[in-house]
Point group: C2
Chain length 80, copies 2
């Protein structure tokens, strides 16, 4: 059974780079990668926070948040 | 042809968690993941630095460093 991996980002260059490499490098046999742009889907911010995401880009795998480099804090994303 | 992905770590709990999830989540069809423990292989520190790694755990994919969460700075790893 596949696991959903969620990649949260905010569209910044750091995020785009992480999306192009890390998010697409995951094993497609095991992971369905869902890409969530938090600026375009503000309603997802609460889910990101609940998963422990503090900054973007971040990958949530098996319920654990992995912050990849640093694009922006979630606080700044909330300000829009 | 497979790409080598290098996962640098220093044995701390943050590193172990990232290794167990992110490093093992990569597509084995496309990536050969090499795990490098910098405390046990100090000679690899120069390679990590050359790749732009500033802290561990970090994953170097296609020559680009991706710092995953924060375990320790490379400066601290150097101090041993």
């Amino acid at each position: 059974m596949k696991t959903t991996a969620v990649f949260y980002h905010a569209g910044c260059p750091v995020c785009v780079s992480a999306e192009r490499t890390v998010a697409t490098a995951l094993d497609p046999e095991r992971y369905d990668v869902r890409i969530v742009h938090l600026c375009e889907n503000a309603s997802e911010i609460a889910n990101a926070e609940a998963a422990g995401v503090q900054s973007v880009p971040a990958l949530v795998l098996h319920g654990e948040p992995f912050h990849i480099n640093f694009g922006a804090s979630l606080a700044d994303v909330k300000k829009g």
